[in-house]
Symmetry: C2
DNA sequence: CCTTTCAACTTGTATTTACAAGTAAAATAG
DNA sequence: CTATTTTACTTGTAAATACAAGTTGAAAGG
């Protein structure tokens, strides 16, 4: 049963321009080719090009100025998914080290943090894992991830040491993050967090409960993140 | 010198539909009139209608389904600008009360929270205001807003008791929020926050520093929000 | 009565055409 | 040389048209 998916022209153009920005063909501040130039290059008409550019604007890759052109803004840092920043300067991913506390295992669940589950999710059970993230060898994040065990063959035997969880889901299971909701609160560290973060009693910790939507209808990823923001604040764009 | 601003048709349609959703003409799950119906009602063509609907989709007011129609999703809770949710159930805006601690006044500034300012911003000075937000008569938010004093006639004399700051900026000054960046951290309440939130020492508080982009190039709004998340967590979608 | 087919909707994609409005650099007038 | 105007670009808005593709309910068939 071949998928036989037809990808619209405006999406193709979007993907090409997007990859050109993320892969460094265009740099911050560069002027994109004009809309008419893009028309001739990609053999489509202006509304089609403009639809692709509209999406790039929405996602923060470019800005447009009437009379001037489309200016590359760079690769958006967050898009809702928070990344971290130091108080001094930006931190490359190189300094981020992941330690797996509990390897992915099948568990029963009744709810996912504060989010209610539907019957299908409860019956399927979940894949549970805990990770501790170190920035410059200091523990900053502790996160718990719960994924409904639905149509994810051999998931628990995969290696997550270096790969991002979302990269694995996208590459091997065609699961893509489309959006989600999150609740943020400030708490004081309990004993477990005091141990993980190596902090004393009364230390404030940021807690995130997230329900992440995917392109699979009804398939959500749940995650709970604790963050020691004493040195590194959570950073996000929107 | 009359401003003589021409508002595009697609924007007018967007504003109308948006207000109809926010003001309860359409409810969650309702089907919007079809694109062709909207064409005849607003006397424009389909591309114009579609542009308005595109924006509503992007902002999360509606979802569209090919063959079915446009379905109202409701008023987006977050869109980057976090709103709050109770631990028990959703809270209507009715229960939100705003108390103005410091009315908008002109001040000098050198930096905006952790964000650096450019020379033009420093020279212009800022409009400074402090507000305390109460949910069910309990203080939950304390926020400081700093806006560069550039081309905002009569701003300090406006009444913000009931209106949202951003509504005023959009309606009277054509300033629209386009995005921004934020830093989140968890702190313990200082004396001022202990007093405002009526909490004891060592109480954890969520702190947000935000730099908000607008459609005016180079015009940013800076805000610092403190949130007592003991009862109400910050809630956002992405 | 149930299933299949079809017709009448819906939104999605794409082209063509036209003009408005902002920008910047070249051409022109002083 | 300088200030102004013009010109040639850029993106922004809008219409008219066409067909593709998904959904739904009514009509036709068994």
């Amino acid at each position: 049963m071949p998928q036989n998916i037809v990808i619209p022209q405006h999406r193709k153009v979007y993907e090409i321009l997007r990859s050109h920005i993320t892969e460094g063909v265009f740099h911050e501040g560069d002027l994109l080719p004009s809309e008419n130039e893009l028309c001739t290059v990609h053999k489509v008409t202006r509304p089609t090009i403009r639809k692709a550019l509209d999406r790039l604007v929405n996602e923060g890759y470019i800005v447009r100025h009437q009379g001037k052109g489309s200016i590359v803004k760079g690769v958006p840092k967050g898009v809702g998914i928070l990344s971290l920043t130091g108080t001094t300067s930006a931190i490359g991913q190189d300094n981020l080290l992941t330690h797996i506390v509990i390897k992915p295992e099948i568990r029963n669940w009744q709810e996912a943090f504060t989010f209610p589950l539907n019957q299908r999710e409860v019956e399927s059970g979940c894949i549970y894992m805990e990770r501790l993230r170190l920035v410059n060898n200091k523990p900053v994040f502790f996160d718990i991830t719960m994924i409904p065990n639905i149509n994810l063959p051999r998931f628990t035997s995969r290696n997550f040491e270096n790969k991002s969880l979302f990269d694995v889901l996208r590459k091997y299971y065609q699961v893509e993050v489309k959006g989600g909701e999150q609740k943020l609160l400030s708490i004081v560290a309990d004993e477990r967090l005091m141990e993980y973060f190596k902090v004393g009693p009364g230390h404030p910790v940021l807690q995130l409960n997230r329900k992440i939507e995917t392109n699979r209808p009804g398939f959500y990823i749940y995650s709970q993140v604790f963050c020691n923001t004493a040195e590194y604040a959570l950073y996000g764009i929107f």
